[in-house]
Amino acid sequence: MGAFKPKEKPLTDSFGNAQGTAVVERQTPQQADTRTASIGGGQLEQMVANGQTLDTLTPQEMAYLARQERNNGGVLPEDLYNAVYKNPSDDIDEVVVTGYRTQADRDWYAANFNSIGYTGPHKDYFPSKKPDYVAPQITKISLGKVLTQALGIGSLPAAGAFGVAGVGIAATSLATKLPILNEAGLLALEVGVGDAIGGASILRAGGAVIGLGAAGLKSLDNLAASHILQRTSNGSYLAESDFGVLTKAYEPSTLNIAGLESGHSFARSVTEGGTGRSVAGHGSYWSQDGFSIVPEGTSITLPREGISIADKTGRYIENGDWSGLMRAANVNERIANDIQGMTTWLPGATVPNYTLTKPNGLNIYSRSSSTNAPVTLNNLLSPNMGCVNWAACTVFID
């Protein structure tokens, strides 16, 4: 692989951000993402019609180079940086997502896609649809405003309050797909995808871990989300409703965190159960603790930065009851606020190095992991853990 040389300046959208990537700057506690729409089918058609071309460096190459840079202590070139923090939805054809709502879109889809992928006139521009394609590194999947609105969850904070997806994105933009995809990713974790389908190996391979469990499909109901998955990844996980749910959900194994001494005795109550995929307790961020990089084979779902989540929200997370969480958000504005910007961070993502402390006064589940002494996220996460949920606050303490 040669040195990275961008072949041309990327196109920019009305925000001045490059299209084709999510312009996600390094996350700091005080800094929200600035995210823009990614390029999709319709746009691509237009670009091709205008004689424009795309940079052909693959996302895998970009991710590799970016990691190399980072490991060497270097500063990532701007373009490269943007690319490696790319929008997860780049792997998913937006038409599938946004277009399934009308018959015309369904017809377009039927005419241009088969079980392999996109077969339309510009198939060469859809490398991700080749059968041997391995999905690129995806660093986060998050839950944004549009989906929650679509689900009828009202009374949400103003756009500026969103930590990740949804920032500055008009509902009418291409990015309407984002939250749906993000939600799909969130829901995928409900049964511990890592256990159900060998997700750890998928993560190691850098594949997309985006999926929908049965509850997710039901929850999203008439949205296109039930159709989005067949284009998402390297084929290692499909949950395409047209063909039935192709995966079987197994009881996930509990997290096994070396050296962690349980703090369950400090909880107000401990309910038997939970998915076992959560760490539970009081969460906070001390700026001197810096950042943590999500290890290979591991992902972590975090509430957006700098918020206090309700104990109730934490219980839904611990129990993997994402559809219940949606229903609760529908009637409880506090919970609706809690789930805004909730993000699943995948291997290689840089996240605040939060601290988990004992669950003093909380109501937690027996299968969750807790601590009796403060422990930082980098000491909780290790390679190949699969999907981990942070059922705690992310509030900043200076």
Binding site: H282, A310, D311, N332, G361
Partner: protein
């Protein structure tokens, strides 16, 4: 979050609940009344906040640690016997039995009273002193009920 004493409760909700009044939502940027409260008031308030499952004034528990808004002390706790209560992670809902009202406060209020000499409105002091802690009370259920009523 600062709310004026006796204003309608509107924390994290889009429209106020008019039978819940704010008490003790202090911060360092806004003046608040100070003065000595009856000693039995602070004592009872602390006992109520320590509480138990039978008489539980707490609702809206959160999974984070919150420093005192006034002095910045972190992990403020109160103790009773072997029981320890972390303040700042819940709100408390005190019924004002005679007036069909409730008072909502951050649990940190007991720290404000004891350490910062905050003097809450007399109606709140009376409500606390008149509380019968022998009867069953679950603030979370009451609060959820009030939220539901508001939605109807």
């Amino acid at each position: 979050m600062f709310y004026k004493d006796l204003s309608f409760y509107q924390y994290y909700i889009s429209s106020p609940i008019k039978n819940i009044l704010n008490i003790g939502w202090l911060d360092s940027k806004n003046d608040f009344p100070v003065g000595n409260s009856p000693s039995e008031f602070a004592k009872k308030l602390e006992a109520i906040i320590i509480g138990d499952d039978h008489f539980d004034v707490h609702y809206n528990r959160v999974r984070g640690i919150h420093a005192c808004n006034l002095c910045g002390e972190r992990e403020v706790t109160i103790h009773a016997g072997n029981k320890e209560m972390l303040l700042g992670m819940t709100e408390i809902l005190i019924p004002d039995v005679g007036n069909n009202l409730f008072f909502a406060s951050p649990s940190m209020i007991v720290h404000y009273v004891k350490v910062h000499n905050y003097h809450p409105p007399q109606s709140f002091i009376n409500a606390v002193l008149q509380l019968d802690v022998k009867r069953h009370y679950c603030a979370e259920d009451v609060f959820d009920g009030l939220l539901s009523l508001r939605a109807e």
